[in-house]
Symmetry: C2
Subunit: 218 residues, 2 copies
């Protein structure tokens, strides 16, 4: 195993998926250990005693927590491996951090509400999510990626949610990203052409099935 790298992960987690993408982009070999959120291992509790959450990247025995922070760590710890996951210009680096943070504060929160609701309430929450996605559509503009000209931190923060959008589309909500945010939909396809992305994300059907089972208490 290169460099002694372990990822404590849970396949359905968008946060775990970010770390998987970053490691795959850099070509870092690692051991993936699947955690069960209902029955956390002593290793997880020892490595992330503050939040007790996956993902945790354990590099040479030392834990790094919080997905956007882990992605930046991967970029810095393996700075000699390309591609760079952050631009070199300070202003663009700040932009990348800003949009990654926006995804956590707005996309995740709006998406979580959709999972937690049903019927007409869910439709209202879908509208909120679309408003948030339109902000990202505006930021994307005519650029290939969210910040600068290269795939990086902000794209990695957002792309795992694209699998949710597909699952939302299958739910009763008739959510259609292609129609609402065509540039963002093209961006999803562009990201998915990267092997590091497509191989790190589960199939939307699996996420949908997982959600259906969870709602039935299985």
């Amino acid at each position: 195993m290169d460099d002694d790298v372990i990822l404590l992960d849970f396949w359905v987690s968008v946060f775990g998926q970010r770390v998987r993408i970053a490691l795959a982009e850099k070509g870092v070999h690692y051991e993936n250990r699947e955690e069960n959120p209902q029955n956390k291992t002593p290793l997880l509790l020892e490595m992330n005693p503050v939040h007790k959450k996956i993902p945790v990247l354990i590099h040479q025995g030392k834990p790094v927590c919080e997905s956007n922070i882990i992605v930046q760590y991967i970029d810095e710890a393996w700075h000699d491996k390309s591609p760079s996951l952050l631009p070199s210009d300070p202003y663009l680096r700040a932009q990348a951090r800003f949009w990654a943070d926006f995804v956590d504060k707005k996309v995740y929160e709006a998406g979580k509400k959709i999972w937690a609701t049903e019927g007409s309430e869910q439709v209202a929450k879908k509208e909120e999510l679309i408003e948030v996605l339109k902000v990202l559509e505006g930021q994307l503009g005519e650029k290939p990626y969210l910040v600068g000209e290269s795939f990086g931190l902000a794209d990695i923060a957002l792309i795992p949610f694209s699998v949710w959008f597909h699952a939302f589309g299958k739910m009763t909500m008739n959510m259609n990203i292609e129609r609402e945010c065509p540039k963002l939909a093209a961006w999803v396809n562009r990201c998915m052409e990267r092997e590091a992305v497509s191989k790190s994300l589960p199939h939307p059907h699996k996420i949908y099935e997982f959600d259906q089972k969870k709602k039935k208490g299985q």
Copy 2:
């Protein structure tokens, strides 16, 4: 004015105070423009259309938003000026980001609940805040600063709240940081010996007065 730097700020904001400290540490000259949260200027709405909040650092006409991101930007844009506000080691950099994020997620949220409550409910919220501060007391241990050996991002994230703690002490809650978290209290004094810190923070009495006036609707 060095480098054309403007800070959109509000004196009572712990987030604005972080940016003031970082600029003072680096010796960057800037123009401070006081915003009124009840009557935001067109410049603020133009420079931070997403969150519409201070602080915003405008450097050569380009805005950077979100206080912890601004502090990292300052460190990178003026990397030739000492001191460094982040360590050079990738693991310690991740730690600095983790604890700065912890302050936002836990200290700020716990502190906000204290401002928003009164009486016995406020006492319960005070206990929650003390539990959070004890986590920071544990992280501090015998070190002079929160991460590594030098004052930096995580310290800058937390130190503005020390003024709140004094204000909380003056409220009916009998909150005594010296008794509950002696290492953290010594850390506050250590930080306050830095001119960049002490000159960037308002006097606790002013914060207490501001809160009292706000509660009376003045």
